[in-house]
Each structure stands twice: as C-alpha cells, then as structure tokens.
C-alpha cells in the first residue's frame, strides 16, 4: 500500500521535479526522520524523562559525551534535573510537532471553509469575510496568538492551565494562521468558479455544497498544500516562541521552546548544551520544512513549469 503510493508519487510530474531537486530530497529525509523519531519516542529515546525513577539529580549538568566530564550514558548531556537531553528533546519534538500539525489543520479547515464559501457565494458574506481576513493579516501572527492565549488563560482556572496548555496553544496558533488560507483559497475559487466544469455541474443541478466540496476543492488543493507546508514551520516556530516566552508548555511537559527557555538560564554558567541542542533541533526542523515548502511552491506552480 505505502510503497505503491510512493511509486505513484515518484512517477508523477511532481515526483520528477522532486527527484531532480537535491534540496527537496535531503530536507524531506530530515523531516521524515524527525517525525518518525518523535512518533516512536517511547522506543527510540534512551530514557523516559518523565519517569521519576530513571531521573537522578546526581546526573544533573552532565556535559555532552565529547566534552570533559561527559558520560557514555548521556550522549548529549543532561539538564538541571538530570534528565537526558536527547530523550527530552525527542519527547519535546513530539509535542512541538503535534501542536504544529493540529493547529495548522485547524487553521486550514477554518480558512479553506471561509475562503471557498466566500469565493463561491460572493455577495455581502464575501465582503465581510475578506474584510476580517485583511484586518487580521495586518496583525502579526505572534501577537494574535499571544492575545488568544492570554484571553483563554483568563477563562481557564489557574490550576488547569498546565493541563489545558496543548488545547489553548492549538487554538491560539490556529486562529493566528487561518487568514493565509482564506485569502489564497478565495482567489483560487474565484478563478475556478467560472470554468466550464463548474458551470456544467450547475446546469445538471448539483447543489452548491456538492460543487464546492467535490469539484472546486480538489482543483485548488495545490496552493493550499504550499501554504500548509510553510504554515507548519510557522506554527512550530510560533509554538516554541510562546513556550519560550513562558506562556506555552509548562516545564512538566516541555516542548522544544520550553527546553530552550530553561536552558537559557544556564548559558552564563557554562552549561551551553541545555539550550543549544534543542535550539539546533528546532532550527533544523523549521529549515527542512521551509526548504520543502520552497521546492513545493516552485514544483506546483504551473507558470514555472512551462519554461
């Protein structure tokens, strides 16, 4: 099943441009590796950093294996609580990726719904939706996410903050990202809606809902996919930024941003690895997604293909 899908992909025109692009191949390998590692965290990570039995304060601040004082047990050293850096990072990337994917899917569903209906139905509804989109596009997404986060915190009692963090963040980041989707899908829908196949399906009496979902949506998937890819790296960066600022994930359930936040406190005392490894991990993750997105934008752009 899966080899079959990969084979079809590689034989297609997009697959051809994928095979031609070294950057795309390398960055997708890195990205898939990170995703698989974080999915299989329980198996791959050398320790379970959340299991108090495996953590000992005696091991705190062990430097990475190649430095003086490093230990074979901890490849990338340990943090202030004696947790293995490599393991906390793998678990942290799991959280970052879950929030990234979930919030971008949330933003995509909301944005695509509003964009397609606005483009297809038009009228006053379209004006209202697009005005909202324009206004929100002028607000930097980090500020929007911070605001939603702050408001949500106001509604949730303090004792529940830590448990609800993941939902609050998905909501906050999702809300800050949807206008991108709405703008691009509306533009694409406006083009599609006057094409003959849509007119034909109208003539045979299909309902608006069926036309939108079954006929227009599959034809505007390409730009949505590009926005979603670049949006994913944006979402991951936003999540880690919020966590770094102290309004994201709590230290008991750290994402990459939380790890960097706490490691930052030890930068001056010389324990650079506590903040550097998560930071490098985050940058590699974001960079691989951005490079994939860049390639995808070129590969899926029909204008560039002609040349």
């Amino acid at each position: 099943m899966i080899p079959q899908i990969i084979k079809t992909f590689l034989d297609s025109d997009i697959g051809y441009s994928f095979k031609k692009s070294k950057v795309a191949i390398v960055s997708s390998i890195i990205f898939v590796t990170i995703v698989l590692t974080s999915l299989l965290a329980v198996v791959i990570a050398p320790y379970n950093p959340f299991d108090p039995k495996s953590v000992s304060l005696m091991d705190a601040f062990t430097p990475p294996i190649w430095s003086i004082g490093g230990s074979v047990d901890f490849l990338l050293g340990t943090d202030q609580q004696g947790r293995d850096m490599l393991s906390t990072m793998i678990y942290g990337s799991q959280i970052s990726l879950i929030v990234g994917f979930a919030s971008i899917i949330f933003a995509m569903v909301l944005g695509v719904f509003l964009g397609v209906t606005a483009g297809y139905l038009g009228g006053r509804y379209e004006i209202v939706v697009m005005r909202f989109t324009d206004v929100q596009l002028t607000i930097p997404s980090i500020l929007m996410a911070l605001l939603v986060d702050g408001i949500a915190r106001g509604f949730i009692s303090k004792s529940l903050h830590n448990d609800m963090a993941i939902y609050v963040l998905i909501l906050a980041i999702g809300i800050s990202e949807w206008p991108q989707f709405a703008r691009i899908t509306r533009a694409a829908t406006l083009v599609e809606k006057n094409k003959e196949y849509v007119l034909a399906s109208r003539i045979i009496g299909l309902s608006d809902i069926v036309i939108m979902i079954k006929h227009i949506l599959p034809n505007i998937l390409r730009p949505i996919l590009v926005i979603a890819t670049i949006g994913l790296s944006q979402a991951i960066i936003t999540e880690s930024t919020l966590s770094f600022l102290g309004v994201g994930f709590p230290p008991t359930n750290p994402s990459l941003g939380t790890l960097i936040r706490f490691g930052n406190n030890f930068l001056f005392s010389g324990e650079w690895w506590i903040t550097f490894f998560p930071a490098i991990f985050l940058v590699v993750l974001a960079l691989s997604i951005n490079l994939l997105g860049d390639w995808m934008r070129d590969a899926l752009n029909p204008k560039l293909k002609v040349r």
């Binding site: 206004v135 002028t138 607000i139 930097p140 980090i142 500020l143 911070l146 605001l147 986060d149 702050g150 408001i151 915190r153 106001g154 509604f155 790296s233 960066i237 880690s240 930024t241 770094f244 600022l245 102290g246 309004v247 960097i260 930052n264 930068l267 001056f268 650079w272 903040t275 550097f276 930071a279 985050l282 940058v283 974001a286 960079l287 951005n290 490079l291 860049d294």
Partner: protein
C-alpha cells in the same frame, strides 16, 4: 485631496473603535474585575459597592462610552498584579520599546535596501548568492534563537557587549533615552540587530524582486541606449521607483517590529512594553493587556495613516486615481 485624507482618517477611527471594543470586552468579560481587585475574603456588600463605583451596573453602551473616553485620556485603571496605574506603567516603558524599534527599523531598512539593490544588480555574484542563502536561513531562525546565539557569542564567550537591560539612561521629563550614554548604546546593539534581522531578510527579497523588474522596463533600456553610465541608471533612475514598495513595507515593518519586540525584550530583559505585556499575559493582568492592545493598535493605525499620506505625495498614480474617482 481633502476627501482622500478624510476617508483615511475615518477608516483609522473605525479600526480604533473596533480594537477599543475588543479590549473593552476583554476587560469586562475575562475573569471578574471585582474579584481581581478585592480578593477572596471581601463581603458581598463591599463587592456590590465596588461594582457600583466602577460603573459595572450601568448598561453596556454607557460602560463602553466611558471606556472610550477614559482610554482616549490615557486612563486604563490599576494593574491587578502591580497595583499601580497602567498609564504610568506604560509611559515608563514606552521610550525603551520605541527606541529599540526605531533603531531596528533603521538597520533593517538601510541594510535591506543596500543588499537588495546589490543582489539585484549583481545577480550571479558570489556575494549575492551568499546574501540570499543567508536570508533563507534567517527566515527559519526564530528570533529568540538568534538572540540567544548573540548573547552566547558576544556576552558569554567574547564578553564585549551586555546581555540584558538598557544600560545607563538619561531622563528628559517623561522620556528616558539610552542614546546619550556609552553603556546605553552598547546595550542597544545586540537587541536591535536581533530584532532587525527578520525584517531585513524580508526587505532584501522585496527590493531585489522590485529592482529586477524595473531594470527590465523600457525607460531603463532607453537610458542605457542614451549611453548614461550604469551607476547613474541604477542609483538615480531605477532605485527611485524601486523604493516605493519599501515605504509601504516600512509601515507594516514598524508594526511587526513592535510585536516582535515582545520576544527580543524577553530574551534581553529589555525593560520595554513587550516585557510588561508578557508578564501581564502570564498573570492574566487584564488592564495591562487591554491597554497594551490599544497602544499597539494606535501605533499601527497612526503609522499606516502616515504611510498612506506619504504615498499620496510620492506616487502620482494614486493622486490620479483619486482625482478620477471624484470626477
């Protein structure tokens, strides 16, 4: 011309009213303001008394009207956490943020335009490719990671620049400036560069695309045919038109810089509005949150207004369009 100004002004006021309504609802519906002021032990009567005094029993539109009047006078009540007037807290912090944003904007625009023009003129040079690849990395580097890297490099390893605070400041009435002392300027270097990098990469790409397009237009070709030397063509004829989008971007740019200054201020413990806001979000200090929202929106709207007006004078095409619309 008058119509154009009036239209822009009305738009700005409308946006401010909407933002005002949002922060008003934030204030009224997020948590119970009375609860936040008196604590758990207060009796029902004192609560009712405060409720009456705050005007929370009035109809919502009266409350909103009062809120707008107070807000335009700079009154946002007391901070829940710090127990001091929010207007005072903000006016203490405002100079720090504005100085940081100003310097970052200048850095971003200066180097952004410089590199953008350079990479557009020397399209396949080694330096151009280097700048472009670096700018691609710049997009993937979160602001706080850049800040941490700088601190590690310049403060921890080299030890030449301070990693936190504003250094010594000089007070002029309500304004405190770090521009006049050596330690103030030193403290400004790392945060302002950190803040400017992301915007810089953006401006580089924009100016480059614009310049490449302009260099292929007929009037440039004609100028070449006349035998004018390349330097004059690039700097005088092409650059002028290439800078028009930069003006718009500068407007949005400064707005984004204010938002991103939250992150930079946290990394460098810069005592500005962003740091105040982040602490307010952590403690759900609603008066500060809503005041910050209004302040930032006001700065956004004002900058956009100025940019629109500047556009009108710089780009004759807009003037023509407006005049046609009136006819």
């Amino acid at each position: 011309m008058f119509n154009y100004f009036l239209k822009r002004l009305l738009q700005s006021i409308l946006v401010m009213l909407i933002v005002g309504f949002v922060s008003f609802s934030l204030f009224n519906f997020v948590g119970d303001p009375v609860n936040n002021m008196v604590g758990q032990e207060a009796s029902e009567e004192t609560r009712e008394e405060i409720r009456e005094k705050l005007g929370l029993n009035d109809p919502v539109y009266t409350q909103f009207f009062k809120f707008v009047v107070n807000a335009s006078n700079g009154e946002f009540g007391l901070s829940y956490e710090l127990r001091r007037p929010v207007s005072l807290l903000i006016s203490e912090r405002l100079p720090a943020t504005l100085e940081l944003v100003l310097v970052s904007a200048l850095i971003a625009i200066f180097f952004g335009v410089l590199f953008g023009v350079y990479t557009a003129i020397n399209r396949d040079g080694f330096v151009s490719n280097f700048i472009l690849i670096t700018s691609l990395f710049g997009v993937s580097l979160p602001t706080f990671v850049i800040g941490i890297l700088f601190i590690y490099l310049f403060s921890v390893i080299l030890g030449i620049l301070p990693s936190f605070g504003r250094g010594e400041v000089v007070n002029f009435g309500f304004w405190s400036t770090g521009f006049l002392t050596i330690s103030g300027i030193k403290a400004l270097i790392l945060p302002s560069i950190t803040l400017s990098l992301f915007q810089m990469t953006y401006i580089i790409r924009l100016v480059r695309a614009e310049m490449i397009e302009i260099l292929q237009t007929d009037y440039i070709k004609f100028a070449r045919a006349r035998g004018i030397n390349n330097k004059v063509i690039n700097n005088r004829h092409a650059l002028k038109n290439g800078l028009i989008p930069v003006i718009t971007i500068t407007g949005i740019n400064i707005g984004t810089l204010i938002a991103f200054s939250i992150i930079t201020e946290t990394v460098f413990q810069w005592p500005g509005m962003g740091l105040l806001f982040i602490n307010a979000v952590q403690f759900v200090d609603v008066p500060i949150m809503s005041a910050y929202l209004i302040m930032v929106a006001f700065l956004f709207v004002m900058i956009n207004f100025i940019v629109d007006i500047a556009y009108y004078f710089i780009d004759p095409r807009i003037r023509l369009k407006e005049e046609e619309a009136i006819k």
